[in-house]
């Protein structure tokens, strides 16, 4: 779960990390008020849960309160399109208005989990302000990586190393306090990422976290009630939220073939096999281990809400979930949800025969496929414009040869 910058800064501030003075604005007039309070210039930063907002025009500086109000007016309701958001972009609903800090130097600091070694790792660099991927490509020698043994924590010698490598001898006390408190915050709140980019040295030689990013481990939200409350529901796709509450794992994509699959890996592979057959998946949907009539009905409902969807591919490999149960779920669900597009079903694994039999005897028009590649072929035959049909057959033949 991603936190907004202002939420991340609030948390950091609770851990005595210096942040710029500022407040959140929900209306243009708020921005005017905050600007008056803080003095000028101020920076207005769109609070959206995506990276690259600066490049997309989501960060602006105002020299007067009126200018702050006008900029806020323009930003509110604006849709920011970044590499991560996709073409539909995200709406700006909140702005963080902050006093502009005087910057002498920009540094980078983050804590994350290194999957390979299975430990938290501190990453820091003298080159802040640009993306860390860019730094690691252009100046790999300027990246400091310190793995932390969770049994002993962030050790004084490791902090000393940061102090020297980042040229922060003058700010020794500050940097020690900031990084050890951030490590504490990381562990206390089950973070999966905590980043300051940049952490700046001001004209008066103090350290300030100019930008802050925190992501919380979704698996740990159950024991971080205070964090769960911070979730900003307006930032999520409503279909994805609805699916989540129903126990489904749904991600919207832009194709025309709806997918309903059990298991995350198979769901991904199903999308892949559709692509290889020349089709385009409309979504990722993992119905998980409990394919009840209710969850399947919810799945149909969400998939068919997208007017682009021309067909639905149900791909179930019965392991935990048995095929007859899934078949029953599909039939029950179709009583409550009207599905007007063709459905291709591939059921295999535990109790496959019973499941297939139930679908065949239902009198409903399913296309039943024996395996994943046949299913992909069948479904792309439905969704492809008729003219291309010959070509498709040729391509498939080629592959089969």
């Amino acid at each position: 779960m991603k936190l907004h910058e202002y939420q991340a800064k609030e948390l950091m501030s609770q851990y005595e990390v210096p942040i710029p003075e500022g407040r959140v604005a929900y209306f243009p007039y708020d921005a005017w008020m905050v600007a008056m309070e803080l003095g000028f210039p101020v920076v207005l930063k769109a609070q959206v849960l995506t990276g690259g907002r600066g490049k997309a025009g989501g960060v602006k500086i105002a020299k007067t309160a009126d200018e702050a109000r006008d900029i806020a007016q323009e930003l509110f309701g604006k849709t920011l399109v970044t590499a991560q958001t996709g073409p539909q972009g995200v709406k700006v609903r909140k702005l963080l208005v902050e006093k502009v800090s005087s910057i002498k130097r920009e540094l980078y600091f983050s804590i994350t989990i290194d999957r390979t070694i299975g430990k938290p790792v501190v990453i820091a660099s003298k080159r802040g302000g640009m993306s860390i991927e860019e730094v690691s490509e252009l100046y790999p020698e300027d990246i400091i990586k310190i793995p932390i043994d969770p049994a002993v924590g962030f050790l004084p010698y490791q902090i000393r190393r940061l102090k020297y490598d980042l040229d922060l001898v003058e700010q020794e006390k500050e940097i020690s306090r900031i990084v050890s408190n951030l490590y504490k915050l990381f562990m206390d709140k089950d973070c999966s990422l905590l980043e300051m980019n940049p952490l700046v040295v001001t004209d008066t030689n103090h350290l300030v976290a100019l930008d802050a990013k925190i992501e919380i481990d979704d698996n740990a939200i159950f024991r971080r009630k205070e964090i769960a409350k911070m979730r900003d529901l307006t930032e999520y796709d409503p279909d994805e939220l609805e699916a989540r509450f129903a126990g489904l794992n749904f991600i919207k994509l832009d194709g025309d073939i709806g997918c309903m699959v059990n298991g995350a890996g198979l769901a991904m592979a199903t999308m892949d096999v559709i692509k290889f057959a020349g089709g385009n998946p409309a979504n990722f949907l993992d119905v998980g281990g409990e394919a009840t009539p209710d969850t399947i009905a919810k799945g149909f409902e969400i998939i068919t809400r997208d007017p682009k969807v021309k067909a639905i591919f149900i791909n179930i490999f019965g392991g935990i979930v048995r095929c007859d149960k899934v078949a029953n779920g599909i039939l029950q669900a179709l009583k409550t949800v009207e599905v007007k597009v063709p459905i291709v079903v591939r059921l295999t694994g535990m109790n496959k025969e019973e499941g297939m039999e139930m679908l065949k005897n239902s009198g409903l028009a399913f296309s039943v496929a024996q395996d994943i590649k046949e299913a992909a072929h069948m479904i792309t035959q439905i969704t492809k414009p008729k003219k291309e049909e010959n070509q498709t057959t040729k391509e498939t033949n080629k592959k089969e040869k």
């Binding site: 299975g118 999966s192 991904m268 295999t348 994943i372």
Partner: protein, 296 residues
């Protein structure tokens, strides 16, 4: 021979009185696995269809002498359950539980590395040596004893792969899912090493997915140490960047974790890439027959 689990493996099930634990403990026993006991705190002294239940792993170990533990404990308590098994001297632990907090796994990882424990999972389907022992939640009947070893990150994709391999007339030596979480007990390399040494395994199939760099690391290892034919499919070629695809670990960050990066590394190591998951069985069959002259 197969690897890690055999007909002789003695298994206890932690969380055996829960819905899933019970169902799968019995399904494993039906398959032929020696399920010798179960553990649920507070339910000691009872039994699950004749399988004795104990309050602690320690007691289960003393009374039933197991060498594998299969864990179905809910996420908030699963890390503790793994460490309890370690503390009681069990050396092979299979954790099915999905949704364990990453920082819990950081602690677990440190302990299992120090103690030399084989932890399969978490968030995995388990491990199976066909016709000998099934320790996990996979549908047993799709597997067939044979010569292909399979290492997968995902559960259902392990089934899909094994099913395709069985259907072309080949079979499997041992198959396992290493788990879909960011931190798991064992990586591909650990299993590649064992499959390479196992006389029954003649070829190895890797089923990867986007995210992390485990496949790239595996490629380095294969290049230097593996002489048997290796095949690989990596799921997620069509996945959008920056989105977590169901599994906590399946996410592309920046340029890292993409299918291309993984395929490039694997190709470089001489691995046979199967890009289209509809053709896994066929490709393995044809390649082994034509290129390696297997008599199939």
């Amino acid at each position: 021979m197969a690897i890690a689990v055999y007909k002789t493996s003695r298994v206890i099930v932690q969380g055996i009185t829960g819905k899933e634990g019970r169902y799968h403990a019995l399904a494993c026993r039906d398959y032929g696995t020696k399920v010798v006991g179960g553990v649920t705190p507070g339910k000691g002294g009872s039994d699950v269809d004749g399988i004795p239940v104990f309050n602690t792993v320690e007691e289960a170990v003393q009374k039933t002498n197991p060498n594998v533990s299969l864990i179905f404990v809910p996420p908030p308590f699963a890390a503790d359950a793994i460490l309890e098994a370690v503390g009681s001297g069990i050396k092979i632990i299979v954790c099915i539980t999905e949704g364990i907090p990453v920082l819990d796994m950081v602690k677990v990882k440190r302990v299992i590395e120090k103690e030399g424990i084989i932890l399969i999972g978490p968030n995995c389907p388990g491990i199976i040596t066909p016709d000998a022992s099934k320790i996990g939640i996979m549908p047993g009947h799709i597997f067939k004893r044979g010569s292909i070893g399979i290492i997968s990150r995902s559960g259902t994709l392990l089934y899909e792969t094994a099913d395709q391999i069985s259907k072309v007339g080949l079979g499997q030596s041992t198959c396992l899912g290493i788990g879909g979480d960011p931190i798991v007990g064992t990586d591909y390399i650990f299993w590649l090493e064992r499959f390479e040494q196992d006389p029954e395994t003649e070829a190895i199939m890797i089923v990867g997915e986007i995210g992390g760099d485990a496949e790239e690391k595996a490629a380095e290892y294969i290049k230097a140490h593996v002489t048997k034919p290796v095949f690989a499919f990596v799921a997620g070629a069509s996945a959008p960047k920056g989105r977590r695809m169901g599994h906590a670990g399946a996410i592309i960050m920046g340029k890292k974790g993409t299918v291309e990066s993984k395929y490039n590394a694997l190709k470089e190591a001489g691995v046979h890439i199967i890009e289209n998951p509809g053709y896994i069985g066929e490709t393995i069959y044809k390649t082994l027959k034509e290129k390696y002259h297997f008599s199939i």
